[in-house]
Symmetry: C2
Subunit: 203 residues, 2 copies
C-alpha cells in the first residue's frame, strides 16, 4: 500500500495505470522496473511499511492503509462534546497537510482535489487529537470548529442530523424506513455561504 501515493491531480488509479503500462515490457525489463518502483515507493513514503499484522496492530509506528483510490476514511468528532460531526476521506497529501498544519484537510471526492475544511465557510477545524484504528485503515480526528461550530455543508451542526425510525413506514410512498430530524434549525444559510458552488452531494 505504500505505493499508492497520490496528490491533488495524481490519483492512485492513475498511478496504477501508469505502472501497468510500464510493466508491459519484456520479463527482465519488467522485473527491473518493478524493483525500482518498489525501492522508490519505500524510500519516498513518509509512513512506516506495513510489514506484519503484529506491527500494524500493536506497533508504535504510523503505517496507514490507503484504499484502491488512495484514500483513508476519517471520522471527525467535536473534541468538546464528542458529537460525530462528519465522515470524510483523506489522501496522503491531506493527511500530511493535517499533521503539518494542525488544521483538518481532506480529499474532496466530488471535486477531486485537496480540501482545506473551512476555506470557503470559515468553519476551520483545528485538530485536538488524531487517532488510528487497529488495522490502521481509518482515522479518528477530534477537532475544535471555528465560527458557528458547524461542519455540515447543508447548514446543520453535524452532518448526521436525521435518525432512522425503523418500523415507521411512509404510507404515501410505501417506503418502509422514514427519517426524523434531530437538529431543529440550521446554523447558517448555505446559499449565502457557498453561493453557486457545486453541491458535493452526488446521486
Amino acid at each position: 500500500m505504500q505505493c499508492q501515493i497520490v496528490s491533488e491531480t495524481h490519483t492512485g488509479k492513475d498511478w496504477r495505470q501508469n505502472q501497468e503500462q510500464c510493466l508491459k515490457g519484456k520479463p527482465a525489463t519488467r522485473h527491473a522496473i518493478m524493483i525500482i518502483i518498489l525501492i522508490f515507493c519505500t524510500m519516498s513514503s513518509p509512513f512506516a511499511a506495513r510489514t506484519s499484522v503484529e506491527a500494524v496492530e500493536e506497533g508504535m509506528l504510523l503505517a496507514p492503509k490507503f484504499d484502491a483510490h488512495g484514500l483513508i476514511p476519517v471520522v471527525t468528532t467535536d473534541a468538546a462534546t464528542g458529537e460525530l460531526l462528519m465522515h470524510a476521506y483523506m489522501n496522503e497529501t491531506a493527511l500530511l497537510k493535517t499533521l503539518e498544519t494542525g488544521e483538518a484537510h481532506y480529499y474532496s471526492r466530488s471535486r477531486q482535489q485537496l480540501w482545506r475544511k473551512g476555506a470557503t465557510s470559515g468553519l476551520v477545524q483545528t485538530v485536538q487529537q488524531l487517532l488510528v484504528d487497529d488495522d490502521q485503515d481509518c482515522l479518528w480526528m477530534k477537532v475544535k470548529v471555528a465560527g458557528t461550530g458547524a461542519s455540515c455543508h447543508v447548514g446543520y451542526r453535524s452532518c448526521f442530523y436525521r435518525q432512522i425510525s425503523p418500523g415507521e413506514g411512509d404510507s404515501a410512498t410505501n417506503a418502509p424506513f422514514v427519517l426524523t430530524f434531530t437538529e431543529t434549525a440550521k446554523t447558517f444559510d448555505p446559499v449565502a455561504v457557498y453561493g453557486d458552488a457545486p453541491n458535493p452531494t452526488q446521486l
Copy 2:
C-alpha cells in the same frame, strides 16, 4: 445505486459482472434487459430512490448510497460515553438485519460475508440510535455493548487505542510519525476468545 443489491454470497461486483454479461446481446435485446433490470431493482429495493439532491439531503425517506462494492461505512459509538468504538461497513443485507433485529450486523470485507457482531465473542452491540448523514452515504450507530463492553478484535475497548504524535519521530527507523497508546490494558484475551480464526487485519 438502488441496483447494487447484495447478499452474503452475492456481492455488488458479482451482480455487475452478471449484468455486463447479460448486456452483451444485440442492442434491442440489451435495451429490453436494461429496462427489466431497472424496473426490478426499483421495485425490489426496500429503500427510497435517490431522485434529487434535495430529497436526499432534506427529505424524510431513507435512501442510502452503497458504494461500488455495495457497501456503506458505519461509525459505531458507545451510546453512553460517546466514545468511537469502531468503523466498519454494511451491505444492504446487513443494514436490513440491523434494522430488523436491533442488533448490529456488518459486512466483513476480510471474510466476505455477513457479520453479526459478537457472534463469537459475545460482545453483541444493541442499537440505541441509528442516524444517516446529509448525502446518505454513511451511518452513525450508537450502541450498547454486552459483556466487557469492548468492540475491538485485538482486545481493547475501542479500535482506536493509539494516537498519532506529530513531530515525535522514531530515531531508530527515521519514521516521522509515532503512535502512543491511549488504552493501558486489553479488556479480554483475543487468543482465548477467537482461537485460531483468521485475523481480519490485512496488510
